[in-house]
Symmetry: D4
Subunit: 147 residues, 8 copies
Amino acid sequence: MELTVYLAGQIHDDWRESIKEEAKKRNLPLTFVGPMENHDRSDHIGEEILGVQPNAILKDEAASKINNLRTDVLMNKADVVIALFGEQYKQWNTAMDASRAITLGKPLLLIRPAALHHPLKELSNKAALTCETPTQALQALSYIFES
Amino acid sequence: MELTVYLAGQIHDDWRESIKEEAKKRNLPLTFVGPMENHDRSDHIGEEILGVQPNAILKDEAASKINNLRTDVLMNKADVVIALFGEQYKQWNTAMDASRAITLGKPLLLIRPAALHHPLKELSNKAALTCETPTQALQALSYIFES
Amino acid sequence: MELTVYLAGQIHDDWRESIKEEAKKRNLPLTFVGPMENHDRSDHIGEEILGVQPNAILKDEAASKINNLRTDVLMNKADVVIALFGEQYKQWNTAMDASRAITLGKPLLLIRPAALHHPLKELSNKAALTCETPTQALQALSYIFES
Amino acid sequence: MELTVYLAGQIHDDWRESIKEEAKKRNLPLTFVGPMENHDRSDHIGEEILGVQPNAILKDEAASKINNLRTDVLMNKADVVIALFGEQYKQWNTAMDASRAITLGKPLLLIRPAALHHPLKELSNKAALTCETPTQALQALSYIFES
Amino acid sequence: MELTVYLAGQIHDDWRESIKEEAKKRNLPLTFVGPMENHDRSDHIGEEILGVQPNAILKDEAASKINNLRTDVLMNKADVVIALFGEQYKQWNTAMDASRAITLGKPLLLIRPAALHHPLKELSNKAALTCETPTQALQALSYIFES
Amino acid sequence: MELTVYLAGQIHDDWRESIKEEAKKRNLPLTFVGPMENHDRSDHIGEEILGVQPNAILKDEAASKINNLRTDVLMNKADVVIALFGEQYKQWNTAMDASRAITLGKPLLLIRPAALHHPLKELSNKAALTCETPTQALQALSYIFES
Amino acid sequence: MELTVYLAGQIHDDWRESIKEEAKKRNLPLTFVGPMENHDRSDHIGEEILGVQPNAILKDEAASKINNLRTDVLMNKADVVIALFGEQYKQWNTAMDASRAITLGKPLLLIRPAALHHPLKELSNKAALTCETPTQALQALSYIFES
Amino acid sequence: MELTVYLAGQIHDDWRESIKEEAKKRNLPLTFVGPMENHDRSDHIGEEILGVQPNAILKDEAASKINNLRTDVLMNKADVVIALFGEQYKQWNTAMDASRAITLGKPLLLIRPAALHHPLKELSNKAALTCETPTQALQALSYIFES
């Protein structure tokens, strides 16, 4: 049995790598998917494909369409979703992805620093599990395969 | 034909009132529902019902359960969802509600100041309509009933 | 038992009126809903609510969002959908509405002139019934209530 | 991770080939499916299987059943749908396929010449992405696999 | 609380009347719907609405479309379905209606003479309850309202 | 806005009455439904409708069919489900009803004595709210209507 | 792309073999599943697994449970369903399987002798295709794979 | 065709082994999944991943989250669910898993000693099959693959 895991959330540090490496070390049959992690490319993909847009807002809209396309296709394939919130940024797209997963019946693992407990309490209440580090989330996935 | 509208989002100003008054003035057959707007009551409802909790985190969890219960029951009844984002606060529960509405096939009207365009671009791309004022959202609802 | 009927399709003649009048004459418990039938208003609703747009394409996009919002809200309420195709116009939005109804499990009545048989054959094959006049469609609805 | 892509739309030029070749060149794990592209065969398949029909309309109906069967089976397997509209023909079956994809939660890529912007504005508003060339649609699919 | 009950099955005797009368006597808040019970009208409805058809098979097809339309609209509204099988006739449309109800999650009450036990055993196994008389089915519905 | 509440669980004391009275006192627009509370009648309903059964097991099966019919019909109508577990009895049907509610997306309120915390921990984790008294559950429902 | 095909219907002749052989000859990537074709074994499987039952009716019920289990598991895996009706037998379980397929959105191919047109007209109207021989059904499946 | 089978129920004896061995002996293409069978590990997994919890109740809650995560992920992958009830323990989580399977349309095989007939009669009525030994359940699965 193989599982596909969508890694939602910020693309400003290498938290996804730590999860992937740990999974590899444990030899888990997991396929990881997620958003474009190259921030610049993610911001410019709209103009790259559709051509130069009239202004910054339309450039953003073009990019968000293609990023949402990627998310929708990959999340439809996912068995579990991990969403990580960091201290910075609005991260409303992460909350959107997390809520979509829950509503589709795909278990959600929420990772966030303890300091974000209060503003994330409603989402945390809906998550299958809330933890503080990527390693904890990976441990929970690993547990699924233990006999 | 009557429609039920869930008003998601911040409870720190009276934006809901402006929508309700405008609907009344136009005589629209709309029933508005939404979260508890008394912030204090919303924060204490967990302890009010379940008794004093051991610490602030557990107090928050108790409250978030009951607030999520209210949201889930009322959103299940809603035909349309309006979500308003303001300049302050994390508002991840608003993003959660908005995304839940979209995933359930309930059209979402997004209200946000132009300044929040960039961080809300993915959610905006999924919304039925994004506008800047409660009045604009109400105008769109009003249009549904015009012949 | 009351039924809600969504009347999809062209807004360039008064076919909806003939259906409504016939239903009234027969005293059928039907509520009819549908798109904005004032073509000009339908084209300008985007700018009316969101303000003047930079160009014709963005004006169209703004209008289509609000017209789709109306369609989605009302079609979610509908028990049956009637879609009329005329000789003129592309009418791809009518085909979109008709297909959406079928996919949602809402029976579709297709009205089209015999001359359009060939290009509509796939949609016709999916419809509950294909006929040539609004009166025939209304007769079929009337039959649902006969004992 | 492999994706199945349904290529809806006209069968009068070789746009599907250009997409398949580009996917091959980029080594993308995509399986392409779609309607019968041999127009004659598509029109005669009903009589080929069921025998000669009494008239042209019944011949069309027999063919449309089998073409719809093919579409339904293959679209149920698809992860993404691309729909191309050209300048000619009614293409209501393309609009039907596109709308079915959207309603089933399968992201839709819409390809159409800029000249068709106005009549396709409602469908475009529902699509994940609207572009003008098959290459652009393929670029968007390619982006899903980039890391 | 009111319930809508679809009465599927043969239209050759007055079993529906016995159920309706019993419900009336017990003052139960039930609305009964079902197929056209006038057999002749049911067979001719296709030609009545669409005009004379080229042959008996096409006359049948036209009628079955309109009868299926009626069934689909009314069964979508139903909370419970009662299906009665008699000793005569093929009654495959009754089996179709019964199976549709089960698959849609609408509880099915099956009424059949004991003699039909063997050929109906698979359907009986899926029904909420199998009984032998309309009165028994009505008693079961009545039980839902008892306190 | 009115809500329908299914009251699942033991029928050996009058906990449902305390909820109904409190709701009445608070004037809440709630309709309460639930299983047959007359234990004897619930056990004999199978034989009452279907006649004497060959043995105790078949008598039980006949009764369970009709009790499940009642539960299914009423739970389909419910907006919220309250399930109460007491200290005695196996109560697997209560767990079945509670889990069905959760899986159907209907919020579940779980009432149980603190002593049952351990064996109910998985169900509690899935419930919208777990509390210890019927009054607490009613308070949570009441909160949904407060403005 | 591989497809799984459920072959519903009578088990009294070798129509399934003719389909399987033709598929093999054409090298089609089809996996065929279906009910137990050994009639005796199908009738006795209940007692074989659960032990001797008190009477013929209970023996039938035990068998129908296990045959329905087989059907449900395999039909859930199917992409297409073929249902064959013959001149003899009640075949209500075939109608049940066919209707279940349609309601689940799995295209149905109906095979029946022309003589059964009238009693099968409602089911035929819901089928993707109705034909008279197993070979015709296989030809339609074959067409799905042609390019 | 391969099937995935979720084995719900008590983890206090080796009933799962007897099923797996029998499946191996018969060479059936079955993949078995299920809960953590090491009771101690199951009870401590919450603290192992999330760290020491303030009290026994919170320790239980942490563990139940991770055990529910495992169940949800694996049951989503399952084609069939087997649930075994023993003479001891409350086993409400087993009833929860069984009911979830039924509601999701996954056939349920119920194993229980005859002595538990009465308290399990409602669940038994919803199960595809109720039997008394793991071997019987395996025989029923085996029957699915016989030709």
